[in-house]
């Protein structure tokens, strides 16, 4: 090689605390500090118990939202996919004796629910990948379809009357850790591994930044898109089953308000709204921040609606802080060079 070249030493980025994690962690510390000072009851096992039981529903749905966002898309059908999955379990249980149904019926219900969730995602993925229609429109269509279907099947009412052995799935503890939290953490761990270490995860990021260039590099981008939405649907089904066990009933429309909060949690966790960048761990921390905030406000006697308003303010604040941090970093960099 005749031309001169410089190969600088390869520096690995700090693995634990990278830039996208710093923001959510700072928010986490701040929320903990403010509420601990505001009310002595905040730092109690009751607070964390309530967070640990509430976090998983939103968390699982956020994981379902994360993958499509990373590819530059969106899945607006997550909550209704979860409802349909819950309905599937409920239907199988009712077909097999309702409160008297056995674990085998429940197992069958879970399998069918997962299949229903995956099918919802699969259909969206196929339409998005092959027709190149916009994910927002496709998932909106799926959302309306599932809502209509669910309301038609349930006539708008609640389905309840499940066997008692399902209760621990929503309310039980194993070694002092709530079962839903275990399910969520396992799923989050799986997502983290998938995104950071597998071919699928790698391709998701690449497609999110430039789908055409990824296809020119020999990646089956359609297959990746189909898989992304299928996995998203599957994750919705898991969320739906957990929600069913928590409420001990299924109603179409349960958790509907979570839809946009999942998008918010992703952005709070540093995910690029246009796709290509974002990691699981910061999103999980962001989720914890949101949940602690809402529980803390609850403890202070504020209404749930106020908590929602505070979530919105938090997102705006995070945007402004990110911009400020960028300015400060640039100024420091300039000073360092002088």
């Amino acid at each position: 090689m005749t031309s001169p070249f410089v190969v600088l030493p390869l520096k690995r980025p700090p693995q634990g605390l990278s830039a996208d994690l710093a923001g959510p962690l700072a928010a986490f510390v701040m929320v903990m500090l403010i509420f601990s000072l505001a009310t002595p009851r905040f730092l109690s096992s009751a607070t964390f118990g309530s967070v640990a039981f509430q976090l998983p529903e939103l968390g699982l749905l956020t994981l379902a939202m994360l993958l499509p966002i990373l590819t530059g898309g969106l899945n607006l059908a997550i909550t209704f996919t979860a409802n349909i999955a819950g309905l599937t379990v409920a239907w199988v249980l009712h077909q097999n004796g309702g409160v008297n149904a056995g674990p085998d019926a429940f197992a069958l219900g879970v399998v069918l629910a997962l299949a229903a969730g995956a099918a919802s995602g699969l259909v969206m993925g196929l339409v998005i990948a092959f027709s190149r229609a916009h994910p927002i429109l496709v998932s909106l269509a799926m959302m309306i379809f599932l809502r209509g279907l669910g309301e038609f099947l349930t006539r708008g009412g609640d389905i309840s009357g499940f066997p008692a052995f399902i209760r621990p799935l929503g309310h039980g503890m194993v070694l002092g850790v709530p079962v839903p939290l275990i399910v969520f953490l396992a799923c989050a761990g799986l997502w983290h591994l998938m995104l950071s270490r597998t071919r699928l995860g790698f391709n998701i990021y690449m497609i999110g930044s430039n789908s055409a260039a990824t296809r020119y590099s020999g990646v089956d981008t359609r297959k990746v898109i189909v898989l992304v939405y299928t996995l998203s649907g599957l994750m919705c089904a898991i969320a739906g089953i957990i929600m069913m066990a928590r409420f001990n009933s299924v109603r179409v429309g349960h958790g509907e308000a979570y839809l946009l909060i999942t998008v918010l949690a992703c952005f709070l966790g540093g995910v690029d709204p246009f796709g290509g960048f974002g990691r699981t761990v910061p999103v999980v921390v962001a989720l914890a921040v949101l949940q602690l905030l809402s529980s803390g406000l609850n403890l202070l006697g504020a209404s749930q609606h106020l908590a929602t308003a505070v979530w919105g303010m938090l997102l705006v604040a995070v945007m402004v802080l990110r911009w400020l941090a960028g300015q400060v970093a640039a100024a420091l960099e300039r000073r360092r060079r002088r």
Binding site: R199, F202, M206, Y216
Partner: protein, 505 residues
């Protein structure tokens, strides 16, 4: 280092002058103690290899980057301690970047005059006034275009004229043109040069950043040459020859000998017969042998890229056969082609060749991810090892592997793209316009790589509309026109001017 000469400066006081400018990014020095001066109405040429700091210098002048230390910019009699993009625009400094930064969906008039209607208080968009502004500016350039057609209906050359027209709206005093001739045919280039002369007569200075050396000499009054972020010197343009410029830019002399050799007995890696896609190419037949570099040239629209995409499995032939190592192949997608050992370097590096926002490392391993996986998972260690190997092998200048590939210069990006394909262990490498947006020295470096790969036995198809490139670097040259192969030439038995006459006839 040569001393700066006043050259043919027409006016005593420079329009623009900077002295002792240094810029560093992270650990990389982009500019070191560079001075730069442009006279009013001068056509000035800023020459340098990729990564020599030309773009950085333009960005300092336009206030995008702030130089280290106390460097000051003086423009049109004013001294700026700190130039900003807004101040630069207001003072009459304009830049036309290579990508033009236009709005393809908007009309010609809107593209030219949009700055008159954006910014400031909200007010109604006055389409009549916009069309009037656009018409006047285009008339100044001696051109008329349909003002209401969307820009996407126009060729790159016309779009460039629109970009120039937009730069002239308001009081332009100096226009920087970044690689303006990179995607133009010769006729379009001479039209552009005529426009540059018109501007110069009006007293507008034009700083021309070009890699086509013959044109550089023809058009410029003076030339500033940068190398590795330092000033080499300022020279009167008429004293320059292409080889002298190359020498100054690279610090070494070039041996521009024809590289062609015969590969008559080597086994054929690729044999194409009667390949046809109606409307794109017809009845194309040729052979590429082991270790051979086959040049394919012809004007844009001759069907070269369509042919390459068909060989790469991204389009299906309607008729004809493709044989790889003697066996007929039928690809359902480019994945089949890659598996069979075919690699295709896209002509469009910015949007198809590389994934610009993603890291150097990820771009390099994307096509050969299987090589860095252990037990179904990507091994960070193996990935870094593979990337480091190719970075070293192809002499790619990078900061960190995790940096976005968009932070690299054109030539280094192209090396990353080549490394990406070499990592797939191809038997046939198709290079489609591999030097678009790559500077002279870096081009030579890329062809050194191509020659080395060919010597190692790789079969290479080199597609380019720059005749000297295929002439000097290919073993055989095929001429494509309107979808057909209309001629085959051996560089050893034809002179370059004859080949040019044959192709441009």
């Amino acid at each position: 280092m040569a001393t700066a000469q006043p050259g043919a400066a027409p006016a005593p006081r420079p329009l623009l002058s900077l002295s002792d400018v240094s810029v560093t990014f992270g650990g990389v020095t982009a500019l070191k103690g560079v001075s730069f001066e442009v006279m009013p109405g001068e056509v000035h040429c800023l020459a340098g290899e990729n990564g020599s700091g030309k773009s950085t210098l333009i960005k300092v002048i336009t206030g995008v980057y702030r130089p280290d230390g106390e460097a000051r910019i003086s423009f049109d009699g004013e001294v700026y301690d700190q130039m900003t993009p807004v101040a630069a625009q207001a003072a009459g400094i304009r830049v036309i970047w290579q990508d033009l930064a236009l709005f393809p969906e908007m009309s010609v008039a809107e593209n030219i005059a949009f700055q008159e209607v954006v910014g400031g208080r909200p007010r109604r968009v006055d389409h009549g006034a916009m069309r009037e502004t656009a018409r006047k500016v285009l008339a100044r350039l001696g051109t008329s275009l349909d003002l209401d057609l969307p820009l996407r209906d126009y060729s790159i050359a016309r779009r460039q004229i629109v970009a120039i027209a937009r730069a002239l709206v308001g009081e332009a005093k100096i226009i920087f043109m970044d690689e303006p001739t990179a995607s133009l045919t010769q006729a379009e280039t001479s039209h552009l040069l005529a426009i540059v002369r018109t501007l110069s007569r009006e007293g507008i200075a034009v700083v021309f950043v070009s890699h086509r050396l013959a044109e550089v000499i023809e058009i410029a009054d003076r030339m500033t040459v940068l190398r590795d972020g330092r000033l080499v010197g300022v020279y009167p343009a008429r004293e320059m020859t292409p080889s002298r410029i190359t020498e100054l830019m690279t610090g070494r002399t070039f041996d521009a000998n024809v590289r062609a050799r015969s590969h008559g007995t080597a086994p054929a890696v690729l044999a194409v017969e009667g390949l046809t896609r109606p409307g794109e190419f017809e009845d194309v037949s040729f052979v590429v042998r082991r270790g051979e570099t086959l040049g394919i040239t012809g004007l844009l629209g001759a069907g070269r890229t369509e042919l390459a995409l068909t060989l790469f499995g991204m389009r299906r032939p309607h008729a004809g056969t493709i044989r790889l190592d003697g066996k007929p192949v039928r690809f359902r997608s480019n994945r089949d082609a890659i598996r069979a050992g075919i690699a295709y370097l896209s002509e469009d590096r910015l949007s198809l060749g590389l994934i610009q926002p993603q890291s150097i490392a990820d771009n390099l391993v994307i096509a050969s991810l299987g090589k860095v996986m252990t037990g179904g998972l990507i091994s960070q260690r193996r990935k870094q090892g593979l990337v480091a190997r190719w970075v070293g092998e192809l002499g790619i200048k990078i900061g960190r592997q995790e940096d976005a590939v968009s932070t690299l210069s054109g030539g280094n990006q192209q090396r990353v793209a080549i490394a990406k394909w070499l990592a797939t262990d191809p038997r046939l490498l198709i290079l489609d316009a591999p030097t678009v947006g790559v500077d002279v020295g870096a081009r030579a470096g890329i062809f050194d790589i191509v020659a080395r790969l060919a010597a190692e036995g790789l079969a290479i198809i080199l597609i380019s509309d720059e005749l000297p490139e295929v002439y000097y670097n290919a073993d055989r040259v095929l001429h494509m026109a309107r979808g057909r192969i209309v001629g085959e030439y051996d560089p050893r038995s034809i002179a370059l001017p004859e080949l040019e006459a044959a192709v441009y006839a």
